[in-house]
């Protein structure tokens, strides 16, 4: 009965989410806001990807921008240099990201805590340096230009509105897919790894295989986000996939709230909008940004989504007493 009500609640949440996407997509006229919302969608995919790994399985990654970059550079290289159709480049880029994640994951995921953070950081830096230095293929530090817009038969995704629907459609599908995984046996096993890896192994969870699988899944979603980013802006440069980008992804997950798909949405929205709002501070932008990060982590270490929920529940309890 409890499971049923949880399921219904989830369904209602997704129905509302779909409604909000459709309504805002049709009625928003301002192209700037549509573009901003599209960026939020792409960042939400990234936050969701990392949240599966960090929030549920408890494995930190400080190099996830590498997979984002592999998705973006993968489709750029395949469509421009090899004249692939973008729709063929998409599965290819995702497959490359998954293969890299698999190979790198085997030795890296043996580590834990700070050491895992450092291992993934090193991997991310190496991929970033590769994007920057392999200039005959990636365009080097000056970036990669001329990525074609997406088209599907008569529908062109060059316009802001269609791209908005494409990105948020991907977000919705990924949300539902991840929610299904989380609610399944695998999801419970992942949370068991988060709470105690040895204990999980003792009750029969194949922790090594499962950690690797969720790492590969996370890489695939990040690569999808990279693909969507590349065909949105037509120009990519290594700076977008640097160490700072990886840190920004982690921040989205942590600020929004770990182990919650809606936390990923909240964190991605806030961290995409924050720089826009902070433009008003001009040269104090970085100072304010850093300050906000520290304050949220000191006072709401479980993230805004959980933190605000806790405060709400506490006041509710106080009032009933």
């Amino acid at each position: 009965m409890i499971i049923n009500s949880q399921n219904t609640r989830n369904r209602i949440a997704y129905a509302v989410f779909l409604l909000v996407i459709v309504v805002s997509g049709y009625f928003l006229e301002n192209l700037y806001y549509l573009q901003l919302l599209t960026f939020i969608g792409i960042n939400t995919l990234l936050a969701l990807a990392l949240n599966m790994l960090m929030g549920y399985a408890g494995q930190i990654s400080l190099g996830h921008a590498a997979f984002y970059g592999i998705g973006a550079y993968g489709t750029a290289i395949l469509t421009v240099h090899c004249h692939f159709s973008p729709w063929l480049a998409l599965p290819a880029a995702i497959a490359v990201a998954m293969a890299v994640a698999y190979i790198v994951g085997i030795p890296t995921l043996k580590l834990s805590g700070y050491y895992l953070g450092m291992g993934t950081l090193g991997f991310g830096m190496i991929i970033h340096i590769l994007f920057r230095e392999w200039s005959s293929i990636t365009g080097g530090a000056s970036g990669f230009i001329g990525i074609p817009p997406l088209e599907l038969g008569p529908v062109s995704f060059a316009s802001g509105r269609n791209y908005f629907f494409l990105v948020w459609g991907c977000v919705l599908i990924s949300f539902i897919a991840c929610q299904r995984i989380i609610d399944s046996r695998i999801g419970r096993a992942l949370r068991a790894i988060h709470d105690g890896e040895n204990a999980a192994a003792a009750v029969g969870v194949n922790t090594r295989a499962l950690k690797l699988q969720v790492f590969v899944l996370s890489a695939a979603i990040s690569a999808l986000a990279g693909f969507l980013y590349a065909h949105l802006v037509f120009f990519i440069s290594p700076g977008t996939f640097s160490f700072i980008a990886s840190i920004r992804m982690v921040t989205m997950v942590v600020i929004g709230g770990m182990a919650s798909v809606w936390g990923a949405l909240l964190g991605a929205s806030l961290l995409t909008l924050l720089p826009e709002w902070l433009h008003a501070f001009s040269e104090f932008e970085m100072v304010v940004y850093g300050l906000i990060l520290m304050l949220v982590m000191i006072f709401l270490p479980r993230g805004l989504f959980r933190g605000l929920l806790d405060i709400y529940e506490r006041t509710l309890k106080k009032n009933t007493h």
Binding site: M54, I60, L62, P107, T108, L111, G113, Y114, Y115, G117, M118, G119, L121, G122, F123, M125, I126, I129, L130, R132, E133, F243, I244, I247, V250, T251, V254, E283, F284, E285, M286, V287, V288, Y289, G290, L291, I292, L293, M294, M297, I298, P301
Partner: protein, 291 residues
């Protein structure tokens, strides 16, 4: 031969700098089991303070050096008191985000105070470069190595000979046991922060004459110092020293004989290699001597 010697000299100079940064990382980790992602930013602040005190105000070398380090140590103490101590659940991920937030904050402060331009200052002494078998050794390189050695000797004396140092070491070994015998653990952690950031600032002070100092120089230096600390063995003084020199020399040889694009990759390739092969570092934790 002459070329190899030249690369070796630049490798040793850079290695000494990485070693100083790694020592700061390592000693903080030893005392608090915390990795300070803002450490590179303290190096940046040290270099920029030196730009002001030595370059712009023309204070005597020793005065400028001490003033810079005092400023950085004070910043470190304030950082610990305001941002680290109030944390109620000190899990690694929370501390990582806080120190990353601090690094962005400090970078912003650096930009506001010193602007976006890069600054240079003259070398500590005006001696011409030494000529050794055709290769040139800058006088600043000698300064850097002397200061590295002085730091190590100073730290050793502090930990072995002074009561405060011994108390800090006891606190690092077991907070609880140290607390029982009356060592104020919070004070020790704060002291460790001050000392670690002061060493970070010192690293900045000594490289200011050999590099372009700007508000965004800290991140890469911090990460490389971190790689050096991991390479040698996190938490070990000799490991930091070994890791720093190994990284500096391999990086210089990589630039010289393979490609200059490889420079930044060397540190991270070495990091991955050591993590996969011997995660504890070359001087691994079991056999590592504490400070």
């Amino acid at each position: 031969m002459q070329e190899i010697l030249q690369y070796l000299f630049s490798g040793i100079t850079n290695g000494a700098i990485y070693a100083v940064i790694a020592i700061g990382f390592s000693m903080l980790y030893n005392s608090t089991e915390l990795i300070n992602f803002a450490h590179g930013e303290f190096v940046m602040l040290g270099a920029l303070c030196m730009v002001t005190f030595f370059g712009a105000l023309h204070l005597p070398l020793v005065v400028a050096l001490v003033a810079s380090i005092v400023c950085i140590a004070a910043t470190g103490l304030v950082f610990e008191r305001l941002a680290i101590r109030p944390v109620r659940h000190p899990e690694p991920i929370v501390l990582i985000i806080i120190t990353v937030g601090a690094s962005i904050f400090l970078r912003g402060i650096g930009m506001i105070i010193w602007g976006k331009d890069a600054h240079t200052i003259p070398s500590f002494s005006a001696h011409p470069p030494l000529d050794i078998a055709g290769a040139k050794l800058l006088s600043q390189s000698i300064w850097i190595i002397i200061i590295l050695l002085a730091t190590i000797i100073g730290l050793q004396l502090f930990y072995k000979k002074t009561l405060t140092g011994k108390a800090m070491e006891a606190n690092a070994i077991s907070k609880r046991a140290a607390w029982i015998v009356g060592i104020p653990s919070k004070m020790m952690i704060m002291l460790a922060f001050g000392l670690s950031t002061a060493i970070g600032g010192l690293a900045g002070v000594i490289i200011a004459p050999v590099t372009m100092s700007s508000y965004d120089m800290g991140t890469m230096l911090g990460l490389k110092g971190f790689c050096a600390a991991m390479l040698g063995g996190l938490g070990s003084l000799w490991g930091a020293l070994l890791g720093g020199f190994l990284l500096g020399i391999l990086e210089a040889l990589g630039v010289g004989f393979v490609s200059s694009g490889l420079k930044d990759a060397t540190a991270f390739l070495l990091l991955l290699f050591i993590l996969y092969v011997k995660p504890g570092g070359i001087i691994s934790a079991a056999s590592a001597k504490r400070f």
